[in-house]
């Protein structure tokens, strides 16, 4: 499949046919899947790639002399190039396959252990998911470095004037998500990156929530590290990528030891393999990597501009209808946000509404969305989160709204 931004006409009915899961029923009702920010669904084109891999060329990769191993290696490395092209990385070896966003963050956080001391400072945003908080707290515990937080306002925007004050000569690392998972805020990461670079700090951007909706250009952003998970972008679970600038990936020590990541091993000394293998110890998720590439092909064939336009329409439509329901409060009303709506209705517990919506076939997420600091900020136990992808429809939103009204009536 060719990767092109020029898209076919956006036809949601034809797109939906690509997703077999959208044809199933839940609790006797047609599935309405609005939990896309947690994981996206998989199109037949990607499922076919997975089936083809295990049916025809499953083998361990690299250094195999036999044909299957060569075919699998070629497909895996081709996937790396697809990812490189998609994110516009300068070199294919700047793309490291990981098990997902969390793995990528831990890889970088561990790599910095030997580079930091107690005088150093790290900056995190208040909008982060636990996976972009905890690894850095652990890094601070190991090194004695201090962790600072860029505060947010009621709308869910970061306060960048506070960020300016936190930046200083001791700032070594800044980490921020491109888009908040709990609120959908699109953060001004280019500005955050530029400012960090003026004091010589490196920046890691968590792209878990952005990659399904926009196509980041890592060279244009001048970002040092960018991480994401394939399962949010129509790919399988258990695979993701870490982009790192070559100079950083050369500086950081390996994260895990094992096969694949070595050049030469004796009991006295082991020398490490070149990039990217230095960070890919053990047999990788070969099929996952190949399917990740296929998922990007699929998304690019539709086109990210078309996807974003359509999802924005869904967001506006759902937001308008939701706000017509008495007692609805939406959390995260940043000017720039993606198709995620976090909300509550009056004092009704999100769990109650989520349970009743499930009975009506609707999948939403309820709870703190692994972003407790944000919930603490708003002083709520959690929210209901509906998140849309390009395969969702206005009709589904209509059904969601009428089901929500029914749930509220039952619970009032």
């Amino acid at each position: 499949m060719n990767v092109t931004e020029k898209n076919i006409d956006f036809n949601v009915e034809s797109i939906r046919k690509d997703f077999p899961i959208l044809r199933r029923e839940v609790n006797g009702k047609p599935l309405v899947y609005f939990d896309n920010a947690a994981t996206s669904q998989t199109p037949q084109q990607v499922i076919d790639v997975i089936v083809d891999y295990y049916s025809n060329y499953n083998a361990n990769i690299h250094r195999g002399v036999h044909s299957l191993s060569q075919e699998a290696t070629d497909a895996y490395e081709l996937a790396r190039q697809k990812i490189q092209t998609h994110f516009n990385a300068a070199q294919p070896h700047e793309i490291i396959f990981t098990s997902g966003t969390t793995h990528g963050i831990n890889l970088v956080a561990n790599g910095f252990t030997s580079l930091l001391n107690e005088k150093d400072e790290l900056i995190v945003s208040a909008l982060e998911h636990h996976s972009n908080i905890v690894p850095w707290q652990m890094l601070c515990e190991r090194t004695g470095a201090k962790l600072h937080v860029i505060p947010m306002n009621q709308n869910g925007d970061l306060d960048l004037s506070e960020y300016d004050k936190l930046l200083g000569p001791n700032t070594k690392l800044v980490f921020v998500n491109h888009i908040s998972n709990a609120l959908g805020t699109i953060n001004p990461i280019k500005e955050i990156i530029n400012k960090a670079h003026t004091v010589g700090a490196a920046v890691l951007v968590d792209g878990a929530q952005s990659c399904p909706h926009i196509k980041p250009d890592v060279q244009d952003l001048d970002v040092d590290f960018y991480v994401c998970s394939a399962h949010k972008i129509c790919g399988p679970t258990g695979i993701g990528m870490l982009y790192g600038k070559e100079k950083w990936l050369k500086t950081l020590p390996p994260y895990q030891g094992g096969g694949e990541m070595i050049a030469e091993v004796t009991f006295k000394k082991t020398s490490y393999a070149d990039l990217p293998h230095k960070f890919e110890a053990g047999t990788p998720n070969v099929c996952g990597g190949i399917a990740f590439g296929a998922a990007l092909d699929y998304m690019n064939a539709i086109g990210f501009d078309a996807i974003a336009n359509y999802e924005n329409e869904l967001l506006d439509y759902a937001t308008k209808l939701l706000l017509e329901i008495e007692g609805v409060k939406i959390y995260g009303t940043a000017k720039k946000k993606t198709s995620v709506i976090s909300f509550n209705v009056g004092n009704i517990h999100p769990y109650d509404i989520g349970t009743l919506l499930d009975k009506m076939g609707i999948a939403v997420r309820t709870g703190h969305h692994c972003a407790q600091p944000i919930m603490d900020y708003y002083q709520i136990p959690g929210t209901i989160r509906a998140s849309f992808m390009f395969y969702n429809t206005r009709e589904e939103i209509d059904y969601f709204i009428s089901s929500l009204k029914k749930a509220v009536l039952m619970l009032s």
Binding site: I348, T355, P381, G382
Partner: protein, 140 residues
């Protein structure tokens, strides 16, 4: 009434309903009959872990029978704990420990029985039985 008799009574009540809406509406109504826990016991050590909503449970022994009170910040969870307390409260510890909870399947709430389900029904049953085990130990 024995635990089994109470369970059969509840099964009878739920058998009148044809669809999930009526069952859930009844469960929500049962939540309103829950013997409420005193505020002084609404502390972290009375919270049942494993629930997405908060559930507090307190137990007392009176005349060799365990009496439960509880509350939850979610309405459906309150209904679930109300059903469990109606079954287990005012029973002797041994009866509580020996009882099964198959009736939950029979009243159409089977989906809540999965241990990975975020509502924590399984945790609630476990916690109620833990109280019973503690009181049984005192009796021995």
């Amino acid at each position: 009434m024995t635990i089994e008799e109470v369970q059969n009574e509840i099964i009878d009540e739920f058998s009148m309903f044809d669809d999930w809406e009526e069952r859930y509406q009844y469960m929500i109504d049962l939540g309103k009959t829950l013997p409420l826990i005193e505020d002084k016991f609404k502390t972290d050590d009375h919270i049942i872990k494993g629930c997405q909503s908060k559930v507090w449970v307190h137990a007392e022994m009176d005349d060799n029978k365990v009496k439960f009170t509880a509350d939850s910040d979610a309405i459906i969870t309150k209904g679930i704990i109300a059903i469990l307390i109606r079954v287990f409260s005012n029973q002797n510890p041994k009866a509580i420990i020996d009882s099964d909870t198959d009736f939950i399947d029979q009243i159409g709430l089977k989906e809540h029985l999965s241990p990975t389900r975020a509502n924590g029904l399984v945790s609630m049953i476990k916690q109620l039985k833990m109280y019973a085990i503690a009181y049984q130990t005192q009796l021995n």
